[in-house]
Point group: C2
Amino acid sequence: PYYVAFSQLLGLTVVATTGAWLGLYRGGIAWESALQFNVHPLCMVIGLIFLQGDALLVYRVFRNETKRATKILHGVLHVFAFIIALVGLVAVFDYHRKKGYADLYSLHSWCGLLVFVLYFVQWLLGFCFFLFPGASFSLRNCYRPQHIFFGAAIFLLSVGTALLGLKEALLFKLGAKYSTLEPEGVLGNVLGLLLVGFGVVVLYILT
Amino acid sequence: PYYVAFSQLLGLTVVATTGAWLGLYRGGIAWESALQFNVHPLCMVIGLIFLQGDALLVYRVFRNETKRATKILHGVLHVFAFIIALVGLVAVFDYHRKKGYADLYSLHSWCGLLVFVLYFVQWLLGFCFFLFPGASFSLRNCYRPQHIFFGAAIFLLSVGTALLGLKEALLFKLGAKYSTLEPEGVLGNVLGLLLVGFGVVVLYILT
Ligand code: HEM
Ligand code: HEM
Ligand code: HEM
Ligand code: HEM
Ligand SMILES: O=C1O[C@@H]([C@@H](O)CO)C(O)=C1O
């Protein structure tokens, strides 16, 4: 109960800190300009961290609701998470295309694409097995443990990927200045620790 | 059974790839020179990734041994992991001191110090509760779930920290060349994916 309140507080702080970082140090958000890049971190954090994390908690938080209701909420949150994350991905690829930058060279981008594909597969399998009426009980029972393990693993990978992206964004811009504890660097590090904290709390509630 | 073999193969590949990276692109290993830095990644990967990971698997792999035997093996592996990780930390702080570099400015170093302190606390608590004969059964039962959850969390945090360190080491040296898919960058990315893979497999065997 308190953990859940704490997780929501942390999750919202993560989103707000991301927004504050982009607003204070990166000039804000827009689609049709150099600011298009900034759509990427914001959407990834809202979609693949906050909403995905909350989707995982649904069954633990609403224990007294019907299975049907929680299942729909879990699914709906994952639909939103997926759409927002997709917008964030389109933003960075479109931005790279316009600028003529290389694609998919970094560890962050490799992990990012991997995690997104895995998320999409999990999403399709989730719908097929748990919403499609044709799936038998035994099939569902067989798939359930896989769904739970891979769901948790994909969420943790998302947190790791976001940390790599954040690190990269800080190092690209700050370079050697990073070591002088610039305000942007410190805010970025704090955002990183908040992301880690959210990941740990979600995992704790889940287990 | 196959998973365990696979995890060991992956773990050894991670260590070998780290060694290959440092040997091929970073001039090898030494204490009394500019190469002292290279002791850091190697020791952290061997101690806090490979040995810590294997220590977590002991109870799953040796199911037929006595509890006493597996407990000693778990503890001994953690002792080695701790010592090797400590050498790796001393190496980087000593190197920074000699070079006059700043300490503890990066997200990697913050996560690194945090994870090491948590690891040390877990280590002390593990010894006090599980080896010290005075700890009662009920105390042990009460602490056991915490020990398991935090053990898994600390291991995952170690993997995340190593990814951040790797990313940083690649970006510091390669800079803009990172985007041209230099051999060192590609090898580094592959090492990153191997680290992720080892983390996922250990978690899978554990759950
Ligand atoms: C889990 C969430 C995330 C995923 C799945 C993800 C995925 C990706 C992918 C696939 C690319 C490659 C785009 C291309 O090659 O054209 C990319 C690029 C990038 N992302 Fe993310 N991202 C995430 C979160 C973040 C965050 C939170 C930040 C910053 C705070 C960030 C910063 C960057 C940067 C700087 C690039 C461009 C450089 C590069 O290709 O590595 N990302 N991201
Ligand atoms: C890619 C997105 C998804 C992820 C990461 C994910 C992750 C998870 C996780 C971690 C759990 C365990 C929750 C707990 O034990 O409290 C879970 C349970 C569940 N998920 Fe998903 N899920 C995804 C998509 C879906 C979809 C699209 C559906 C279909 C509506 C679905 C249906 C379920 C059901 C029915 C359960 C409960 C299983 C049970 O304990 O009976 N999931 N999911
Ligand atoms: C889980 C394992 C690891 C932990 C706990 C860890 C911890 C630390 C700590 C505490 C520092 C700060 C030293 C100082 O401020 O003087 C540091 C620095 C550094 N580490 Fe690691 N490290 C780990 C793995 C790695 C790996 C695998 C690499 C590279 C492949 C790496 C690369 C670096 C670099 C480049 C620095 C210097 C820049 C900085 O302070 O961020 N680390 N590490
Ligand atoms: C910092 C280091 C440590 C970490 C990260 C860690 C982690 C873990 C994990 C993840 C498990 C669960 C294994 C499983 O369920 O198969 C476990 C079990 C256990 N650990 Fe540790 N551990 C650490 C140190 C210690 C120490 C120093 C001792 C004392 C010898 C100890 C004693 C135990 C015992 C007795 C269990 C079995 C609990 C049971 O009855 O299921 N641990 N540890
Ligand atoms: O549709 C589902 O019904 C439950 C059921 O299997 C009983 O738990 C479940 O987990 C589903 O996904």
